[in-house]
C-alpha cells in the first residue's frame, strides 16, 4: 500500500487544471501615459480554467494591464483578443456585449452605496436586460454562493470590508462570465479576511471552472491561489511561469525581491557573523523542489561523508501540491572531506545551493 507523504506547510491544494484554450491573448501590447510607458510590449495568454497572477510593484503597469483585458484601457500598440476576437479597434458600444462576458472585482469594491446588496448583484443582469423577478432570484442564488444569503437587503455601508467584497464577487459572477478580473481585490482587507476571500475565489475557480486573472502586489496572494504567475517590472514581463517553479527558483531579480519577505532568510544575528575566511562551519543556503525537498538530505550527507550538518533555519511549504524547501545548513568540513565535495553534493540535490560564508565559533 502506498502511503501518501505528509505535506508540511500552507496552501495545500492545486488550482483547477489549466492548459485549456486561451480566453485572453495579448500580443505586443504597449500603452503610454505621456512620457511614461505603462506597458511595454507585453505578450501573455490566460487559459481557460487557470488562475493567472499578475504581480509587480506599484506603478509596474499591473492595473493598466488588467484594464486592457476588458477594454477599459486601450493599448497604443499590439492586440488584445478575448475568446479569439480582437477588441482593440472595437467601439465602446461594440465592447459592451464582450464586457458582459467578463466580471471584474476591485480593491475598493465599487458597490453602489444607495443600492442594497441584492440590487448591486442584480445590476449586471439589469444591464443585460433580464426581467426583474428573474434577476432578483439569481441575485439570491449568488449571495447564497458567497455566503451572504441573509444580507441581501443590507446597504454596502452596513457591511464589513470582507462582506462588501463578497457582494462584489457575486456581482462579478452574475452574468455568468467566461473570465473574472480581480484588481487588487484583497489589498484593502485584513489578513484573515484576505484568506477567506481567496478561499472563496479558489472555490469558485474549481466549482465553476472559471478563468481568473488577478493583479496584486502581494506574493502571498499569488501563492495562495494562482497556478501561473506573470511578474511585471516597468511595464515589461520580467518573468512568467508556474507558481511553484517561480517561487522555488526565481530567475529575475525583481521576482527575488518580491519573494524576499515570503521565503526564509538567515536570521540577522547569524548573517552578521558570516565571514569569507575559511574555518569553523560553512553555511549553505539550499533551495529544493519536489522529491529533493522531501528527501532526508542531512542524513544522507552524514551517511556519505561521515560528517554532521546542522539545520540552522528554513522551512518546507507546499505550493500547488509541490513541496518547495529552503534550508540554511551549517557543516564542518573534516580533513577527509573538503568543502568542494560537500558543495558538489548539495548542488546535485538542490535547485540552487549557495555557500553564504563561514562562522568561526558555533553559531
Amino acid at each position: 500500500m502506498n502511503v501518501q507523504p505528509l505535506h508540511i506547510g500552507t496552501a495545500g491544494s492545486e488550482p483547477a487544471a489549466a492548459a485549456g484554450p486561451p480566453v485572453v491573448e495579448l500580443a505586443g501590447v504597449s500603452k503610454r501615459f505621456g512620457a511614461r510607458a505603462a506597458l511595454d510590449d507585453v505578450t501573455l495568454t490566460v487559459r481557460r480554467g487557470e488562475v493567472l497572477g499578475i504581480i509587480g510593484r506599484s506603478g509596474a503597469g499591473k492595473s493598466t494591464l488588467i484594464r486592457c483585458l476588458n477594454g477599459l484601457e486601450r493599448p497604443d500598440a499590439g492586440e488584445v483578443r478575448i475568446e479569439g476576437r480582437a477588441i482593440s479597434r472595437l467601439s465602446e458600444r461594440e465592447l459592451q456585449p464582450m464586457r458582459r462576458r467578463i466580471g471584474m472585482i476591485f480593491q475598493h469594491f465599487n458597490l453602489l452605496a444607495n443600492s442594497t446588496a441584492s440590487e448591486n448583484v442584480a445590476l449586471p443582469l439589469k444591464i443585460a436586460g433580464i426581467a426583474k423577478a428573474e434577476r432578483m432570484r439569481r441575485a439570491g442564488e449568488l449571495l447564497d454562493l458567497v455566503g451572504l444569503s441573509d444580507r441581501g437587503g443590507a446597504y454596502p455601508a452596513q457591511l464589513s470590508g470582507g462582506q462588501k467584497q463578497r457582494v462584489g464577487i457575486a456581482r462579478a459572477l452574475a452574468a455568468e462570465p467566461a473570465l473574472l478580473l480581480s484588481d487588487e481585490a484583497t489589498s484593502a482587507l485584513d489578513p484573515e479576511t484576505t484568506g477567506q476571500i481567496l478561499e472563496l475565489l479558489r472555490d469558485i475557480n474549481r466549482r465553476l471552472g472559471l478563468t481568473v486573472a488577478l493583479v496584486t502586489h502581494e506574493m502571498e496572494v499569488v501563492r495562495e491561489i494562482a497556478s501561473r504567475v506573470v511578474v511585471l517590472e516597468n511595464g515589461r514581463v520580467a518573468e512568467e511561469g508556474e507558481v511553484w517553479r517561480v517561487f522555488a527558483d526565481p530567475q529575475a531579480p525583481i521576482t527575488a525581491t518580491l519573494l524576499r519577505s515570503l521565503r526564509p532568510e538567515l536570521p540577522a544575528d547569524l548573517a552578521a557573523r558570516l565571514t569569507n575566511t575559511l574555518g569553523g562551519e560553512a553555511v549553505f543556503r539550499l533551495d529544493l523542489i519536489g522529491d529533493a525537498a522531501r528527501a532526508p538530505l542531512l542524513a544522507e550527507l552524514a551517511g556519505r561523508f561521515g560528517i554532521e550538518a546542522r539545520l540552522l533555519h528554513g522551512g518546507i511549504e507546499t505550493i500547488q501540491g509541490r513541496p518547495v524547501a529552503r534550508l540554511f545548513v551549517a557543516v564542518s568540513p573534516s580533513p577527509a572531506v573538503d568543502l568542494a565535495a560537500i558543495a558538489a553534493f548539495f548542488a546535485s540535490r538542490a535547485t540552487r545551493s549557495d555557500l553564504l560564508g563561514h562562522v568561526s565559533s558555533s553559531p
Binding site: 477599459l72 465599487n110 444607495n114
Partner: protein, 218 residues
C-alpha cells in the same frame, strides 16, 4: 392685524409659493439635464465633448452672472411672448425660471461630479451603456445631494420672488415693501418675516428629512 391684512398675507403667501413651485419645477426639468450634460461631456466624463461642454458652460455662466433685477427687466419682451403679459405672478415665473435653471444646473453638476469614478468604471466594466451609467450610477448615487441642492435652489427662489415684486408679481416681498415699508405698517413687515422664516424652515427641515431617508452612504 385686520382681517383685510390677513387676507393680503394669505394671498401673498399663495403667490410666493406658486412662483417658487413653478420656477423650482422648471429648474428641475431643465436644470438637471443641463447639469448632467455638463458632467458627461466634461473631459474624462462618460461622453467627452469638449465643445459642447464649453459652449454650455459659458451659456450657463452668462445667465448666472446677470443680476436678477436686470434679468427681470431684460426678459420683458420674452416674457410677453411666452405668457402674453409682462406683469403679474405668472409673468414673474418666466424670469424666475430663467434664473433658476442655470443656478440648479451648476448645483446638480457639483453633486453629479462627486459620484465616485470607480462606480462608473465598475458599471462600464459590466458592459453598461452610457445611458446605463447615467441611469444606474450617476443619478441614483447623487440623489441625496441632488435633493439637498434642490432645497437650496427653492429657498433662493423664495428670496428672488421678493425682487419679482418690482414687476407687479405680488408675493410676500411685494407686500412687505408696499405695506410694511411704504405705509409704515411695521406689523405687516413683521408678519411677512415670520411667514418667510416659517416657509424656509419647513422647506429645509423637510428637505433634510428626505435626504436622510435617501442617503445610504453611512
Amino acid at each position: 392685524m385686520s382681517a383685510h391684512l390677513l387676507d393680503l398675507l394669505l394671498k401673498a403667501t399663495g403667490e410666493t409659493l406658486l412662483m417658487t413651485a413653478a420656477s423650482g419645477l422648471a429648474s428641475l426639468v431643465f436644470g438637471l439635464p443641463i447639469g448632467l450634460l455638463l458632467v458627461v461631456t466634461s473631459p474624462g466624463g462618460v461622453w467627452p465633448a469638449p465643445w459642447t461642454n464649453r459652449v454650455l458652460g459659458t451659456l450657463v455662466d452668462a445667465f448666472r452672472s446677470v443680476p436678477f433685477i436686470i434679468l427681470l427687466v431684460a426678459l420683458i419682451p420674452f416674457t410677453r411672448l411666452v405668457v402674453g403679459t409682462s406683469i403679474g405672478t405668472s409673468a414673474a415665473i418666466v424670469p424666475l425660471s430663467i434664473a433658476a435653471i442655470p443656478y440648479y444646473a451648476r448645483i446638480a453638476e457639483v453633486s453629479l461630479r462627486e459620484v465616485d469614478s470607480g462606480l462608473v468604471e465598475a458599471v462600464r466594466a459590466m458592459g453598461g451603456s452610457r445611458w446605463a451609467l447615467v441611469r444606474e450610477v450617476l443619478v441614483p448615487e447623487a440623489l441625496p445631494s441632488l435633493v439637498a441642492g434642490f432645497v437650496v435652489t427653492l429657498i433662493t427662489l423664495i428670496g428672488a420672488t421678493a425682487i419679482a415684486g418690482a414687476i407687479g408679481a405680488g408675493g410676500l416681498g411685494d407686500l412687505a415693501i408696499r405695506y410694511g415699508y411704504q405705509r409704515f405698517q411695521t406689523e405687516v413687515m413683521l408678519a411677512v418675516v415670520v411667514v418667510l422664516i416659517l416657509l424656509v424652515t419647513i422647506l429645509q427641515k423637510g428637505g433634510d428629512a428626505l435626504v436622510a431617508r435617501l442617503d445610504h452612504r453611512r
